[in-house]
Symmetry: C2
Subunit: 249 residues, 2 copies
């Protein structure tokens, strides 16, 4: 059972405004719920069909609403809703310098597309990147499309939101190499990485903003052999991560 008031409250989390007010967000689908239940994230409520509830053990303290598929359709943010939806408490992460001193950190300068952010989190989780930093104008981690496209990696990889300029100043003092993905720079296919690297990815339309660009130690490029104007930012991030790992694995 789920009341009309509860449906309204869950549905409000489709909107950023209400996610921010409540500090909650939505997670949908069996695959994501599986990852969520094995994580440290705090679940407030689970709305699920009886068949999902029969198959899964839920901790005490979580509100459970057994719902019909038709009810799930009404509250879902997906076009093809699944058997389960959870209301989860948001977490904020602080930047971890120690993590950044040992390996690759990804810095996203105003990446606006939720699918791209989600895919980059999944890429980080594949390649062992243990921290992502987003500029405050980047798309919100808790957007349902972002969460969905992480395929569960959102519950493993800390995503920090902070101003990139002061952070990059600090990282430079610590001897961490600041590399930016640009249209004209050194060829990433033969680039020599430093072990402690922060990789800055800009938005597809605007690139890295000028003040941040001025702080880069290295400008790196994925060479173009055809005619496309640009690569998708998540695809580009995947190629950079692969090349970094190629050198250190």
């Amino acid at each position: 059972m789920i009341t009309t008031a509860e449906i309204k409250s869950v549905k409000s989390l489709h909107q950023k405004k209400f996610r921010e007010e409540s500090g909650l967000f939505l997670v949908e689908g069996e695959k994501l719920l599986h990852e969520l239940l094995h994580s440290e994230w705090e679940i407030e409520r689970i709305c699920a069909t009886s068949s999902w509830l029969d198959k899964n053990k839920i901790n005490q303290g979580i509100i459970i609403n057994e719902v019909k598929s038709s009810e799930l359709e009404r509250i879902s943010a997906l076009t093809q809703p699944n058997e389960v939806l959870a209301v989860v408490r948001q977490r904020k992460f602080d930047f971890n310098l120690k993590t950044a001193q040992n390996g690759l950190t990804i810095l996203l300068d105003d990446v606006r597309d939720p699918g791209n952010l989600g895919t980059i989190i999944r890429i980080a989780d594949w390649f062992g990147v243990r921290q992502i930093v987003c500029s405050p104008q980047s798309v919100e981690l808790f957007n349902p499309k972002t969460i969905q496209s992480t395929m569960g990696s959102a519950f493993r990889i800390p995503v920090v939101y902070t101003d990139l300029l002061p952070l990059v100043h600090d990282l430079k003092k610590e001897g961490i190499a600041i590399c930016g993905a640009v249209m004209e720079g050194k060829n990433v296919l033969s680039f020599e990485w430093k072990k402690s690297t922060a990789l800055v990815m800009g938005s597809e339309s605007h690139g890295i903003n000028a003040r941040l660009s001025a702080l880069l130690d290295e400008h790196v490029t994925i060479p173009r052999f055809g005619e496309a104007e640009s690569l998708n930012v998540s695809v580009a991030t995947g190629i950079f991560c692969a090349m970094f790992n190629r050198q250190f694995s």
Copy 2:
């Protein structure tokens, strides 16, 4: 001016059924129209605002509907419609063996997501891959989301739809190496490519189908350093293309 019947006819192209019946599809937005107008694709109709029409020269023989933004919103398949929409004649491409004999060809085995197909076409266009082959069960090239996410590369890269099994048999006879992206295979970061290669990418959920998999000359893997279960298929394709180009550039 655009009549109600014309609006209805344009809107019907949001649906695959009517795209197939008419042999037409939709292209939207200034960026894509720019690429389209510089291509060999045949435009039937352009619906655009007066400001777009003032800035662009349109060939004779194309029906022009000057429309208001509000009318464009009614016929658009986008959530944020642009200033222009075109109705374009579909093209079918035959497989080109000569192209396949000299470089990389991408074979997609049942890739279902339109965003992924579009992004892969854009990747091909970046890396100089000159032909993509899709199994018949793959998502349709003319799906508005596919076209949109190619960013115009759809008008440069031929996408062939054909059964992959007989094609792969033929390619093997021609001495073209058949490499498949799999979860456990040779490390792509140190893999030695043959100059004539067909790269088979499967769907994220099902991988490469068994009968096709049995024909692979090489099984290749992007090594995992973290915990994500898989990589997005377009990101993986980008990494394979980058590594191929690394060897031959």
